[in-house]
Structure formats: structure tokens, C-alpha cells
């Protein structure tokens, strides 16, 4: 199947204080129609920038993005407009992404009218009702005349999703879309997104820093782990979570506390060589993770940039030379977990 979106050798840099900041480097990613793909990583890893490029909000500095197998630049203006419309984004903060001066009805009607998605005022109202029902904001009559401040965070996020659906997209980028919503309400939002995906045949790019949430949401899809502007590991979610290949992924999974006291207190710890994340403006040579990596091989990791490719013993792709050479397999178990490096005495 032709990927709905394909990133080929995408680089993206920003200029900050006259300095070039390479936020994304050599991103290659194929997103299949109907799939769920999660981009995970810590702040500054480039997951949001990748999401914005996929949604067509940012252009790559170099490399290209293909939609349905062809670059946007090679298409006619009309075609490009149509394709861009099919790629939508839902932002993190529903307090900031909805105009406080407009009612929910207005917020949904603007894109419907601008893009001539409906005919006549009867059609407009019917479509707004339909959209609100799709995101479980029922009865719609209670919602349309309300302003964003009269809704809860979860309800507002539903409005954001409904707004993204107005233009009948084929792909939605959900950028930390449930991070600001309470635990008890998150799951219903995620379930709604999954239902919409099934009913409308949507592709979802889900961006999150929460690995447990990524695991839950993308169980039937894929996870891409990002670190300092590169994808370091990508594969089917159960493979990546149960059998992580990249040392960074392993460190992340080991570090996450679990909502289960016995489980979380008996987790295998993994100590990195350094806690400091390098600056994007001063990236280490070779693999950007090598100064922190417990598998570090001098002369290799600090010289060569690892390619994202297969590794023995793993179903997923990984960008780590020792793992690709099968050297790191034995080192998974951390032999020396010293939780008390400081001499055990009090202040006095």
C-alpha cells in the first residue's frame, strides 16, 4: 500500500540567537493508511516538530514529504490544497487552541463554511450536530451555544477533535492531546479517537511523552522512539515495549514508575553514564546518545552515526551499532545498581 505520508531524509533546523539548531536530522518514516503510530520521547527530541511537518504546518529544511507517494511541491495548487486539508492536527492545550470569544457552534462552522464542506444553513447545522455527536458531546443542543470557558478540559479537547474532523481529514496528528486532561477522563478520549479511527478510516499520529499511554493507545500500531532529533527505534508496539532494543528505550522503560506498588518497586534499574542531555547546538559526534550510553563502544559510537535498521534478536528497527552487532544483548541486566552512592550518614 502507498503510505499516506512519507518523510524522506527530513531535516529541520531553526535559527535561535543566530545559531542553527538542528531539531530534526534524517527522519525517514512511512505512515500507512489506517495505522496508529506513536512518537515518543522527552522534551526537545523533535516529536512535535515531526508532527507539525506531517500535518503540513512546517516544511522540512531539506528532504521531502510525500503524500500518497508524491511530493506536495509536484502537485497543482488545487491538489495541494486538498491534500493539506486532509492532514489535520489536534493541539495539546484546549484552553489555548479554542478562541474564547466564539461559541462552539461558531468554532465548528468557520472551517465548514470556508472549505464549503456543507450546503446551506440547514446543512451546516446538521453537520455541526453530527460532529458533536461523533465526539460524544451530547445533546449537541446544549453545547453549540456555549463558549469554551463553559466547558471542562476534556469537553474542550473533544471540540478540538470535532474541529479537526470538519474538513474530513484522512490523518490526524494528536500532539499530547490528552496530557492536560485528568486521568479518569483520558481513557474515554482515547477510546473515542480509536472509534473514530475505525469508523472513518483515519490514520492517527499520536505524540506523547507518556510511554504507558503510548503503549495503551498504539497497542495495535507502532511506536517510534525519538532522541535529539532522530528516530532511534521503531517497530510494533508490543515488540518495542516488551523487548526494547535501543539502550535509550531501555533506560526510558526502566525509569517509568508503574501504577502498581510491587511492580514499580521491583523494576530493574538502568543507570546511564550521565544524566545530562546534550544541547542540540552542541550535539556529540557519532551517536548522540553515546555520552550517556551504558553500551558505549569507544572508537565506534563516537565516530559513526548509526543507521536505523534491523538488529539480530529484534523484530523492530534500531539505530545502535552495538545492538546491531549483537554485542549489547548480554548487557541488558545491569549488574551494579548502587542506589546509595552517597555515604550513609545523616547531616550531623
Amino acid at each position: 500500500m502507498t503510505p499516506i505520508v512519507e518523510l524522506r531524509g527530513v531535516h529541520r533546523e531553526f535559527i535561535k540567537d543566530r545559531e542553527r539548531v538542528p531539531v530534526l536530522q534524517d527522519i525517514n518514516l512511512e505512515i500507512e493508511p489506517d495505522e496508529v503510530i506513536c512518537l515518543v520521547g522527552e522534551s526537545g527530541c523533535g516529536k512535535t516538530t515531526t508532527g507539525k511537518i506531517i500535518a503540513g504546518l512546517l516544511n522540512p529544511s531539506s528532504g521531502e514529504m510525500l503524500v500518497d507517494g508524491r511530493s506536495l511541491a509536484s502537485r497543482s495548487g488545487k491538489e495541494e490544497k486538498l491534500l493539506r486539508r486532509q492532514l489535520q492536527i489536534v493541539h495539546q492545550d484546549p484552553f489555548a487552541s479554542l478562541n474564547p470569544a466564539h461559541t462552539i457552534g461558531d468554532i465548528l462552522s468557520f472551517p465548514l463554511r470556508r472549505h464549503r464542506m456543507v450546503k446551506g444553513s440547514g446543512g451546516l447545522q446538521r453537520r455541526i450536530w453530527e460532529l458533536l455527536t461523533m465526539v460524544d458531546l451530547t445533546p449537541p443542543g446544549d453545547i453549540v451555544n456555549k463558549y469554551p470557558h463553559q466547558l471542562s478540559g476534556g469537553q474542550r479537547q473533544r471540540v478540538s477533535i470535532a474541529r479537526a474532523l470538519t474538513v474530513q481529514p484522512r490523518l490526524i496528528v494528536a500532539d499530547e492531546a490528552v496530557s492536560m486532561v485528568d486521568v479518569s477522563i483520558r481513557i474515554s478520549l482515547l477510546k473515542m479517537l480509536q472509534n473514530l479511527r475505525r469508523e472513518l478510516g483515519l490514520t492517527i499520529v499520536f505524540i506523547t511523552h507518556d510511554l504507558a499511554l503510548a503503549k495503551y493507545f498504539a497497542w495495535e500500531g507502532r511506536i517510534a522512539v525519538m532522541y535529539l532529533g532522530r528516530i532511534v527505534e521503531i517497530g510494533r508496539t508490543p515488540d518495542v515495549i516488551a523487548n526494547p532494543a535501543h539502550p535509550y528505550t531501555r533506560a526510558l522503560l526502566a525509569a517509568v514508575p508503574e501504577a502498581d506498588p510491587e511492580l514499580t518497586r521491583h523494576k530493574q534499574a538502568m543507570r546511564l553514564r550521565s544524566d545530562d542531555i546534550p544541547k542540540l547546538t552542541a550535539l556529540p559526534p557519532g551517536c548522540a546518545f553515546h555520552p550517556r550510553c551504558p553500551f558505549y563502544v569507544p572508537g565506534t559510537c563516537d565516530v559513526n552515526v548509526p543507521a536505523l535498521t534491523d538488529a539480530p534478536g529484534f523484530a523492530q528497527e534500531v539505530a545502535c551499532i552495538p545492538v546491531q552487532q549483537g554485542q549489547a544483548a548480554q548487557q541488558i541486566v545491569e549488574d551494579d545498581v548502587d542506589l546509595n552512592p552517597v555515604p550513609a550518614h545523616g547531616l550531623d
Binding site: 486521568v183 510511554l211 514508575p257 550513609a344
Partner: protein, 343 residues
């Protein structure tokens, strides 16, 4: 962690906080009671608006003027055994009490540190306000910085903007212990930080606790963090503590429907495929809370009694308390879930 169950440091009795709003009284905290023991870590968990932050600000009397605090007392026991009621402190006594007996670590470390002062100056200011000399303060803080795995000498001379988020949070943690308080209150200290940073803060906190044996009140919406560091967990809903008990009991043998529902909504990494459930509806209006149990409108276990009679906080085996009419059904359900998880 083990802690001394015979020695209560802080005893909160029947504390209520109301905010005066135009529409009426917002009952942010209602009739909360609990005991904090020496060396114990108590996690207060709950969602936004459940009153956990208000409760903590009330404990250190830092609420705005629109809040009215009432209660039978916040009894604090000094190291020498003297007991005082924090509610009866004068402003001056309160200032002396804070930091030296009870310290705070807030979320968002950058807001807690003065951007135009070096870390060293903040240390000296705090120390001199509490009658500790510069040399002594310096000696203590450098040692604390080492204990929280900071480059002590460098951090001491730095301005806050020169430190990363994780470093700032560890600076705050160290500073909170400068005057050797018995109690440290932490409000979402790991919420705005990345995974690996959170891990290092949690590890450091565990080490410090083991060495210095202070008590912690830890506020969090994150069940996983609570599961990891708490000895005791208290679930708050709509301003009330609805369940409190040892961490394993609360997580594996929940006796309140809200605790169980929260746990059923929390994804876990290392358990394969999971069926999770949201809690329907949203938290109640605290000006006109629903009659009966405040959770009944969202509760899968609710019966007619729940809709009319507010459930009292009842004591169960193992020093546990829960306020739920359907506690036996909830417990049965929790035990089944646990059995299924272990199978």
C-alpha cells in the same frame, strides 16, 4: 520503607477550607483528618480540583484571604515532644515554623527560585532568617547538594537559569532540608519534568529519606509515582479523603469505588494488553455538591443509599479507612482484578 507508627508528627483534625465566591461557598476541603508519622511518606492522590493542593496550603497556612480555614486543629509535635496547634500560631511564629519544622517543595522549580539571586544568596538569606551562620549554612547545603547528586560547588554559585529543570528541582529538594525539618510537603514535584529526570528525583528522594528520616506529604495526580514512593496513600475526591491506608492495601484491596475506578483508568507499561475504563462524567460542583456520596453520579457501584446518605469514614483491618457504602462489593471487585493480574 518502614516508619515509626508510635510517633505522630502531624495530626490533622477535622480540617475544612471554604473559598468565598460570588455564587456561594466553595467547599474545597471538607472535614479532613489524618495522622502523619515520623519517617512516613503519605501520598495524597486525586484529580484536579479535588482539594489536594488547597489542603496542603492550609496545613502551612498559605492560603489567600478568600479562603476560610476551620478545624479542630493541626497538631504538630516537636522533636522534644512539645505539641502545638498550627492553627493557633501568630504570623511570626508561623514564619519561624515554616522551613525549620515544615518545608515545601512546589511544582515548577523556576517559580520557587529567585531569578536574580545566586543559589548561595538564597541559602544565606534563609539561614540568617532562622539564625544560622553563613559557614554553617554553606557546610550544610554543600553536603545536601552532594546527597542529591549535584555538582555542589558549581551549583552553589549558579543563578537558577544556569541550571536545568531537574537540577533546579533537586536544588529545591536540598534547600527544603537545609533547616532539618521534620515534615516536607511536596506538591507535584515531578510533574513538569521528563522521564529520566523524574527517575533521578525519585531515586534521590528515596535516598534522602532513608538517611535523614523526615516525613513527607506528597501530592500527586500520578498514581505511578505514589505507588513507588508512598508508605500510605490517601485518595481525595471533591474535598474529602475518601480512602486512606497502606499503599499495597489501597492499590490491591481498594475499598472505595473512586480509588478502584482511578486505578482501572491508569495504564501500566509492563502488563501487555490492558482493558482500561474511564470514569464517566466530571467532578461535582463544590458549591452545591450532590447529596449522599459525592461520587455517586459517576460510580458504577452506586445504589439508592449512595444517592441520599453521605457515607461515613469507617475503619477496617490494618489501619485502613474508607467512606463507601458499597465497600464490600468494591473490595471483591478489586481482589478479582488483582487475581486476574497475577494470573
Amino acid at each position: 520503607m518502614t516508619y515509626d507508627r508510635s510517633h505522630v508528627v502531624l495530626s490533622v483534625r477535622d480540617l475544612s477550607v471554604n473559598y468565598l465566591a460570588r455564587r456561594g461557598r466553595v467547599r474545597a476541603v471538607s472535614n479532613v483528618s489524618f495522622d502523619l508519622h515520623a519517617g512516613e511518606t503519605l501520598a495524597l492522590i486525586g484529580e484536579s480540583g479535588c482539594g489536594k493542593s488547597t489542603l496542603n496550603l492550609a496545613l502551612i497556612r498559605q492560603l489567600p484571604n478568600t479562603a476560610v480555614t476551620e478545624g479542630a486543629g493541626i497538631l504538630y509535635t516537636y522533636r522534644d515532644g512539645r505539641q502545638v496547634d498550627v492553627l493557633k500560631f501568630s504570623d511570626r511564629a508561623m514564619r519561624r515554623f515554616l522551613w525549620s519544622e515544615c518545608a515545601m517543595v512546589f511544582q515548577g522549580a523556576l517559580n520557587s527560585l529567585n531569578p536574580v539571586l545566586r543559589v548561595s544568596d538564597m541559602v544565606y538569606d534563609t539561614a540568617s532568617a532562622h539564625g544560622i551562620g553563613r559557614d554553617e549554612a554553606r557546610r550544610r547545603v554543600l553536603k545536601l547538594f552532594e546527597q542529591v547528586r549535584l555538582d555542589a560547588a558549581r551549583v552553589f554559585k549558579s543563578y537558577p537559569h544556569e541550571l536545568s529543570g531537574g537540577m533546579r528541582q533537586r536544588v529545591l529538594l536540598a534547600l527544603s532540608l537545609l533547616l532539618r525539618p521534620q515534615v516536607v510537603i511536596m506538591d507535584e514535584p515531578t510533574t513538569a519534568v521528563d522521564i529520566l529526570t523524574q527517575r533521578s528525583i525519585l531515586d534521590v528522594l528515596k535516598e534522602l529519606r532513608a538517611e535523614l528520616n523526615f516525613s513527607v506529604i506528597f501530592i500527586s495526580h500520578d498514581l505511578a509515582v505514589a505507588a513507588e514512593i508512598a508508605d500510605t496513600v490517601a485518595t481525595m475526591y471533591a474535598g474529602e479523603i475518601v480512602e486512606i491506608g497502606p499503599v499495597n492495601d489501597v492499590f490491591y484491596k481498594s475499598r472505595h469505588a473512586y480509588t478502584l475506578s482511578l486505578l482501572n483508568a491508569a495504564p501500566r507499561l509492563s502488563v501487555g494488553r490492558e482493558e482500561l475504563m474511564s470514569i464517566p462524567g466530571s467532578p461535582p460542583d463544590l458549591i452545591e455538591p450532590p447529596p449522599g456520596c459525592k461520587f455517586h453520579e459517576r460510580c458504577a457501584f452506586a445504589t439508592d443509599v449512595c444517592r441520599t446518605v453521605p457515607p461515613p469514614l469507617v475503619e477496617y483491618e490494618g489501619g485502613r479507612l474508607a467512606a463507601c457504602h458499597e465497600t464490600e462489593r468494591v473490595l471483591e471487585n478489586a481482589l478479582e482484578t488483582r487475581k486476574a493480574a497475577l494470573a
